[in-house]
Every structure is written in structure tokens, then in C-alpha cells.
Symmetry: C2
Subunit: 423 residues, 2 copies
């Protein structure tokens, strides 16, 4: 407990090496404060975000960097020697040209950013890796989180590799695959009798009591969330240092979408790309679509809902960054749309059969929403579109189990096989 207590009292005068990160700024009124493990501005009570003094950042330096998110360290709140410490080193996942899917959807060009290739098979490895790097600099020794799955896997794995203890809190209803994949790394996995909102509230209380615990998505959230920018950085670099014309991003808390937007703006600001126009689209499941509702009703605020969808990794009824998502989408001339659970399953299957990529339910939401946006004319079929596929189908098998299976079960002879295939 002493370490971070020290940290907090000295935060104002100690200078941390978090690379280009300069200070924290509140999102509402722009109040500034020194870098520290804080997440809410005590003046306007809005979330704190990292502000930077970017030096000169050149394409050649990035291209010569490691094959991980650390190639972008000069654009992230991490120490300048970040790659020297054990971490999961995620990122540099594939950007797949999805011609079969584009044809099936009747559009010109689709790219799939396939984050199933990360160490624990979701984009959460990106944000956790950045959180771990910042937490190490702040002097924390325990990595913690409340989670419904992908984040639990990523935190437990990263802590193991770093040689840290982890404390992961999950709702007791969590699926078997996610429980086992968290527990195997041998941190402290605690099952909590309650839903995700209960677990989240508990985590905030614990963060207040245990000041040596870095709750990645609570007290080090400003650093953690910047990790999502690497999705945008990679897309731009993989397209040959240019911004895509349209991008479809799933919405849970909404953080990822706003950070992809931020990444595109920063790339333009530091001169790594031409600041060409782009449109950002948000994707939700209808069973948890508060941001889509606000967008369609032209509201500036987001009314919380009680989630009821198979897309559990997106099931945040009160998305913290909802209003900022609305800002990003409206500013870029995008839209937010939502799809039914049946459409989510069809989205998973469409991506699998056209491109051989097996996404979790969140990916199904993204694919199905893209189809809907094309069908209703909001997404331009003649512009290229990037889809963020942020998690792996192996973690949400329940979603497809009643829909796919063997064509037939047959006796072990060739006639039986031919007959089953209608030959």
C-alpha cells in the first residue's frame, strides 16, 4: 500500500517518464494537472485524458521499430525504454483485404483489422500493455480490473509475464472459457455474486482502498485507454500511411471509438499522414444500444439501459464515453446503428464463410452493423471501409452453437460420405 501512497503525495513534484505525455486534461473544461494515477478531474468531475508534447515523429523511425505497439511509443504515454521490460507486446495484427466480404455486401473495398491475432486474442492486450507500462512507472506492483472476459484474460496474462500479482474481479455468471483462460495464469481471480455493474462499483471502491493496485480501467484509465489509439495508427501505416475513408468500430464504453478518432487526428497533426477526411461509424447490439438511440434521437446525452444481448463484451448499459462517441461520429459525418442478436450471429457467420476469420459476438455486431449501414444508405459503398474485429470466436462459442455443426454423422465408408455430400 505504501508505494502508490508515496506516488500520490509526490505526484505533483515527481516527474514521471511517460514519453511524450505531458499532463492530464479534463475532457469537459480542460483543467490541467500533472501526470498521476488519477482518472477524474476534481474540478469538473469529467474524465481525465492524456495531453502530449509530441516531438518530431518520423515514419522511418516507426518502421524501424519493434513489431508491436511499441513502434508507436513516441505517440503513447509510456516510458521511452518501454520495450525493455517484460510485457505482452501486442499489436501489429493483420489488416486483411476482404474482397469476398466486400462482394457479398456489394461494396468496393473492405479491410478487416483482425485483432484476434493478439496474445490473448482481443484488442484488450493493447490497452493493458500500455496500462502496465504506465503503472510500472508510477510504482504500482499489482495489476487489477473488473471484467466480463477479454480484459480479465489480458490483465492476468500481462501480469504473469511481468512477474506481478493480479487481482481480477468477474461476475459469477461468467462463461467457462473466460474463467479458465483467466485462472490459468495463476493470479487472484475473484468471482463476485452480482452483475457487471456491481463488479465495476466494487472495483472503484477497492481502487480507493488499495492504493498499490493499478486497476487498469479505473485509476490508470487515462493511460490504458490511449492504447486503443494503436488500432488507428496500425490501420494508417498498413494502408501505406494514409487514413481510411470510413471505419466501423464497436461500442462498449465508447472509449475505443473516441481513441481511434484521436489517433487519426494525431497522425495528421504530427504530419505522419495527410489529414484527409474520414467518417467514423459506431456499432451496437440492439439489446444494449444506448448510444445508437441517442444518435438517432439527436440527443447529446446517453440514457442508460439494462443490457440484454449475446454480445456480452459490448454490454455496458451506461457507457462512460457515450457523449464523446456522439461528438466523434457527428463531427466526422458518420452514424451509430444497432443490430439484433440474430443479425449478430449472421454477421459472425458471414465473416467466417467469406474471409475465414472467426470473430466473437462483438465482431458479429460490427459486420452486421456494416451491412445495415450499407443497406440503409448511410455508408458509402464506393468508399473503402475498415472494420475493427476486436475479439475471438473461440471465447463466445455459445453464440454459434445452435447455428453451425457437422453436415452429417456417417459410417466410416466412402459411400456414406458421398451420400452425405449429395454426390
Amino acid at each position: 500500500m505504501t508505494v502508490a501512497a508515496d506516488t500520490r503525495t509526490t505526484a505533483a513534484n515527481k516527474s514521471f517518464d511517460l514519453g511524450p505525455a505531458a499532463e492530464l486534461v479534463s475532457k469537459e473544461e480542460g483543467h490541467r494537472q500533472p501526470l498521476a494515477p488519477e482518472f477524474v478531474c476534481l474540478e469538473d468531475f469529467s474524465p481525465l485524458e492524456v495531453a502530449y508534447d509530441f516531438g518530431r515523429v518520423r515514419r522511418e523511425d516507426i518502421e524501424a521499430g519493434p513489431r508491436s505497439i511499441w513502434r508507436y511509443k513516441h505517440l503513447l504515454p509510456v516510458p521511452s525504454n518501454v520495450e525493455e521490460y517484460p510485457n505482452t507486446d501486442p499489436g501489429c495484427t493483420k489488416l486483411v483485404r476482404a474482397d469476398n466480404l466486400a462482394k457479398a455486401l456489394g461494396v468496393k473495398r473492405i479491410w478487416i483489422k483482425d485483432d484476434t491475432g493478439n496474445p490473448t486474442h482481443s484488442f484488450k492486450d493493447r490497452v493493458v500493455a500500455v496500462a502496465l507500462a504506465a503503472a510500472r512507472e508510477f510504482g504500482f506492483k499489482v495489476l487489477a480490473c473488473p471484467s466480463t472476459g477479454n480484459l480479465a484474460n489480458a490483465v492476468a496474462s500481462a501480469a504473469a509475464r511481468a512477474g506481478w500479482d493480479s487481482v481480477v474481479l468477474v461476475p459469477s455468471s461468467l462463461e467457462r472459457a473466460k474463467v479458465l483462460m483467466t485462472a490459468v495464469y495463476d493470479g487472484s481471480l475473484i468471482s463476485v455474486d452480482g452483475n457487471y455493474d456491481d463488479v465495476n462499483r466494487l472495483a472503484t471502491e477497492l481502487a480507493g482502498e488499495h492504493e498499490d493496485w493499478a486497476f487498469v480501467n479505473v485509476n490508470v484509465r487515462p493511460y490504458y485507454s490511449e492504447g486503443s489509439k494503436t488500432l488507428g495508427f496500425e490501420v494508417a501505416e498498413q494502408l501505406g500511411w494514409r487514413l481510411p475513408e470510413q471505419i466501423v468500430v464497436p461500442i462498449a464504453s465508447g472509449s475505443q471509438l473516441t481513441k481511434v478518432d484521436k489517433s487519426f487526428r494525431e497522425l495528421g497533426e504530427v504530419g505522419l499522414v495527410e489529414p484527409s477526411p474520414y467518417r467514423i461509424f459506431g456499432a451496437q447490439a440492439s439489446g444494449c444500444s444506448p448510444v445508437a438511440s441517442a444518435f438517432k434521437e439527436d440527443h447529446d446525452t446517453v440514457q442508460p439501459v439494462r443490457p440484454d444481448t449475446i454480445a456480452r463484451s459490448l454490454a455496458i448499459g451506461a457507457p462512460a464515453d457515450g457523449p464523446y462517441v456522439l461528438d466523434s461520429v457527428r463531427r466526422t459525418n458518420g452514424a451509430v446503428e444497432d443490430v439484433t442478436d440474430a443479425e449478430v450471429v449472421e454477421g459472425i457467420r458471414l465473416l467466417a464463410r467469406t474471409e475465414g476469420i472467426f470473430a466473437e459476438t462483438a465482431g458479429g455486431v460490427t459486420v452486421a452493423t456494416t451491412k445495415k449501414l450499407i443497406d440503409n444508405g448511410q455508408l458509402d459503398p464506393d468508399s473503402e471501409t475498415v472494420l475493427l474485429i476486436t475479439g475471438d470466436g473461440l471465447k463466445t462459442l455459445d453464440a454459434v452453437q445452435d447455428h453451425v455443426g457437422p453436415k452429417a454423422t456417417v459410417a466410416p465408408n466412402t459411400e456414406a460420405v458421398d451420400s452425405a455430400l449429395g454426390l
Copy 2:
């Protein structure tokens, strides 16, 4: 059926573009024949292997190539424009310096080649990608296989991306995760009443009847199996263009181990690395350890066994390449060892808690065998050792489910959490 029938009749005079591949050579007596979709020499009945005319292959050309196995196309039996066709483009997975594991095992330096990062999360994506590329050149239109899991996933995924039909035969007892992950790609998955030996025999019969079906591990096996060389190529490149001193490889059919050996020799022959000495070690589960038995009893042949182990992806009782494994291991001064199912589980857990990498049972076999080889003095603790982790823990959750889980299930308050953690 017409396509491959054409292929076969013209194989002798048609010249296929399979890059540096020159002809097929029988492993026993060295009989030569033109490149064709054949897998057994009709003169000595031994397996056929690809022989090459390597041109000049330079490090710079490889380093400037794509971030996939196609960077090594000048060392593989694939068309020179292979990267222009849709494929899963696997490879370039991480080589992780595993200092925590090395410390736990009391050795100087361990590297983990982590093939869970491949598109369907196993090394099978490598061999299937090469098989698909060769099959396309031979004029096939259907990708097929018998499989117990990882191969089924890889074939169904690659066929979907290529726009091909697939026929995947699996034993009806196959685990849910592997069935669903194969079926989702929407090829023809056929469940067969029988064990893997029955399914394998059926596949060989079907390959004879359906000449337009490329059974990746039957009629195009000589090309398919060369894909495993890319594991060795990548390890050498990632070490800075040098061979490791020791490498531990799991044994199923034994093909992978012999191809890693071949890859190291080829790298030396074409001058990409110094031909420094290396030792190859084989890892088996005791419940299916025919090669380990033959090694320990100093036999040249391998006596088939009936498999009984949780390491199902290694459960081949009559390993086709068993004798060649013995050759490689003995020639390089290595060894073959086997471990119990309890040790396999402990191997999975040891890797997860030290390095944050969740391997399938085959990875547990590799880690546990490494520990045993160190303990019994066969593996030199002062030399560096590479471990091949070839598949993903999410596909074999059954192996760990009775061994790991939440520390406690508690009420949603901080006292309950602190109490569960002993604080």
C-alpha cells in the same frame, strides 16, 4: 473430378510453377519423379519429399518480404507470385524471450516460439497455407483433410478465404470447440463414427476416388509438410540469422520435427546462417509415446501403440515419420522423452504463470518434456533452448478445468474481497 484427372495425366510433361521446387524424391531409396500431387513412391513405397534447386537467397530479400511465411517463398514449394492469391498468410509469430520460465527451470536462456498467434491459433495454418498454394497450382478446387481439430480449423478457414469448397472429416467424438470452429466457416464438415485411424483410412480412400480433392495431409502431403520448415526459418531469422543451440519439438506424426531439422540444414546450405551445431529434442505424452520408446530402446523402427492421453493433437499411435525423427534426433545428439498427463497439465500451468502464454496440451507436453530433459541431464542448462508452442489453450480447456478456477466466490463488498485474498 476432371481437373485433377487432367493434372495427373499431364503431370509428367506439364511444368508447374512451384518456385524452387524441382522434383519429388523418395525418402528411402532416392527415386526421383516430376512434381505432381503424389505422396508415395511406387518403386520403394516410401514417402515422397520435395527436392529443390535453390537460387541465390539473400537475407535482405527475405527481410523486405511480407510479414508472413511468404517471405520464405524462395525456400518453399509455392508459386513465385504466391502472395497475390487469397490465403490465410500465417507465420511471423512471436519468439518470446522466456526469462521467468528459464529461471523456474534453472537454465540460462529459453525462447518460446508462440504459434498461438496464427490465424486459427495453431501451426497448422502454416502447412495448410503451403498445401493450398500448391493445390491451386495443380488445379485442385476442393481442400480436404482428416483431422482431430487444429488441422480441421485451418483447412476450413483457408478454404473459406480462398473461395474454395472444403471437406473436413473428423471423429464423432471431437470436442465442441473444434467442431464449432470448423463448422462456422461453412465448408462440408463430416462427422465420422470411428476413431482417428478410421477417419484417416477413409480419407486415403476418398483421395483415390475424388481426384479433384486436395487432401492436404494425403495427396498433397509432400508440399503441405514443407510448411513446417517456416518454424525453423523464423526462429533463425528472429535470433538474428543464427541457429539455436537446442530446440524441443512435440511429436505427432513426427513430420514437424524432421522439417525443422531440414529447415536448419537448408539455411546453412544456402548460406543464410552459419551451419552451427544444433540439438533437436522430441516431446511426447507417455500415453502415446512410440517414438520415445523406440529412442530409449535404441530401435530404428517405431512400434505402433493405441493412444491414451489428453494430448489429443499428438495422439498418433503409428507416426508416419517416426523413423526419420529418430534419425534427426540421433544425428544431432538430441533425445526423445515423454511425460504423463499430470505433467502435461503442470506444463501448461507453468508456461501460463511464468510467461502469460496459454498453450494447448501439446504445448504442455513440450514444456513438461523440457523440464524432464533438464532434470535428467539430457538438455544442457547452459545452452539456449527454443520451445515450439504449436497450439492454443482455448481449444483444450478440458485439460485444465479441474485444476484452475476462481480463488473464491464472494459477495460484492470490499471486506469480502480482502478476506478472500487474506488481507
